[in-house]
């Protein structure tokens, strides 16, 4: 075996020894973050003061936890099923499901979605467009909805003032999408909710929000003595986990946006605050038109004022909305009636 390979094998062996040594160090401090009482009980059952870390990890489901070392004799366990983390993962799954199901016309026909992905989309529709599945007899499994993309552009003025402009994207495709959705309307309900229904909706929403915010911290061994330090380390770990999930969701969103043929790609959008002249020319032109169109909505006294604000802005900041569109009613060419509908933006991706 060449010398270099011997050296490499030796280094790997040393690294392994170090890991083994760390894993065999007595575990004095354990901090667990979870929202699941059964998980807390399980860790309580398995943990003994001074046990080697390797013994603890062997007895727990490794996939379930994020484990990070804390000092020389401590460890932080974060339950990967924390509602906060699950929600992020769930958003990513929705983006992946849409990416697989959306047609070139931006339309998602739920009946055509593979069974494995359908449930995730149906659950989202129930959440975004509530009360159609149950109270009005509308079956979300039969729904036809559309993907909607828009760009948020925040203009920063030198004096600290800022304005947010929304730029609808893929307008030609959105027109085709709306034409299809007009044949598959999801009507608004035409009656008041009963007292019971209002109560149920309130309870469900409160329960969902409260579950999302739930997270408890448990200390084992002597961890209680070092709680402030442990909380700081836990926060860092949690932030890292959230950030990784955000990155994965962003990657999934970029694939969806590329699939829809959006130009510029999400990957090409400038990150953070940039100067107006750093934006692609076509985007600048569209932004100018939109600012002038929306001058009244934005609180300017005229389109000229709005244009001036844009040109004088010290920086711009971009993010992208991904939403789902439903149509309430179709247009009527005989009477000139326009179509009507709504868009629920479920995800904002920052570049």
């Amino acid at each position: 075996m060449p010398l270099v390979l011997y050296a490499l094998a030796f280094a790997v062996s040393l690294a392994g020894q170090r890991t083994d040594q760390a894993d065999s160090v007595p575990l004095h401090n354990l901090l667990l973050i979870s929202a699941d009482a059964q998980i807390v009980e399980r860790v309580e059952d398995r943990y003994r003061y001074g046990m080697p870390l390797s013994e603890l990890t062997k007895s727990l489901d490794g996939e379930r936890f994020s484990l990070s070392k804390w000092g020389s004799r401590g460890v932080i366990l974060i339950d990967r099923r924390l509602p906060l983390l699950v929600e992020k993962e769930s958003q990513r799954n929705l983006v992946l499901s849409l990416s697989e199901s959306v047609g070139p016309d931006l339309v998602v026909r739920v009946t055509d979605v593979p069974e494995s992905k359908r449930q995730r989309i149906v659950e989202s529709l129930e959440e975004f467009f509530p009360w159609h599945g149950r109270s009005e007899g509308f079956d979300m499994k039969q729904a036809t909805v559309g993907v909607d993309l828009s760009l948020n552009v925040v203009l920063h003025a030198a004096d600290g003032n800022q304005k947010k402009i929304v730029l609808p994207m893929l307008p030609a495709l959105a027109r085709r999408r709306n034409a299809v959705l007009e044949d598959h309307p999801m009507p608004q309900r035409n009656r008041e909710l009963s007292q019971e229904e209002r109560g149920r909706l309130a309870r469900e929403t409160t329960a969902r929000t409260s579950q999302l915010e739930r997270m408890t911290i448990h200390t084992f061994g002597t961890a209680r003595k070092y709680l402030p330090e442990g909380l700081r380390a836990s926060a860092d770990t949690l932030e890292l986990l959230l950030s990784k999930l955000d990155d994965r969701t962003k990657e999934a969103a970029a694939e969806l946006i590329d699939k829809l043929g959006h130009n510029p790609s999400l990957r090409d959008l400038p990150a953070g605050k940039v100067r107006l002249d750093e934006l692609p020319e076509e985007l600048r032109d569209r932004l100018m038109n939109q600012v002038k169109s929306d001058w009244e909505f934005l609180g300017f006294s005229s389109a000229l004022d709005a244009e001036g604000f844009l040109l004088d802005s010290s920086s711009v900041e971009l993010s992208m909305n991904i939403g789902l569109r439903r149509t309430f009613s179709a247009s009527d060419k005989q009477t000139g009636r326009p179509s009507s509908g709504m868009v629920y933006n479920f995800l904002v991706i920052r570049s």
């Binding site: 959440e127 975004f128 509530p130 009360w131 828009s150 929304v166 609808p168 307008p171 027109r175 709306n178 608004q188 309900r189 909710l193 209002r198 909706l201 309130a202 469900e204 929403t205 409160t206 969902r208 929000t209 169109s293 929306d294 909505f297 909305n321 939403g323 569109r325 309430f328 247009s331 060419k333 000139g336 009636r337 326009p338 179509s339 009507s340 509908g341 709504m342 868009v343 629920y344 933006n345 479920f346 995800l347 904002v348």
Partner: protein, 159 residues
Amino acid sequence: MISSAKILVLCPLFLGTLAMSGSAQTWTETAYAVTSPPQDHDEARTSFNANANQRYQWWVQEACHFIVSGSATPSPSWRLLFASLCNNSWWYFESFDFTPTSHGTVTNRVKFTTRTGINSFSGTNPTATASRDLDEKVVEDLYFVFDPHQEDPPGGGGN
């Protein structure tokens, strides 16, 4: 939607009626030419904050118009009547009903197309031509956007 097809139907009927009511002159529409590419708009209107569980009902309205003005030729006698008929504007109303399951912002939006063109006619007995400038705004979609609050909150407990 009021489209050029409707204009084509409306105007010759009216002109035909005029032709039968006295003058022997008859007119035929020869063209409706769009003079610049139609412009698509998707604009924001009013917005408001929405709280979870509360039922919101509101309506939005948007003006449409179909206007005829000017003439490239001396006016036939029916010009004023024709303009009066075709200078038209009206409002569209749409009502919405929404009970959000999270806090957020509702923004009303409207999609419409504007276009300008020339509506031209030829007359016989005696031979003559006339044309009108057309200005149209056609509303295609009234909708609202719900944005759940996803902005980064101020850090450190609101500092």
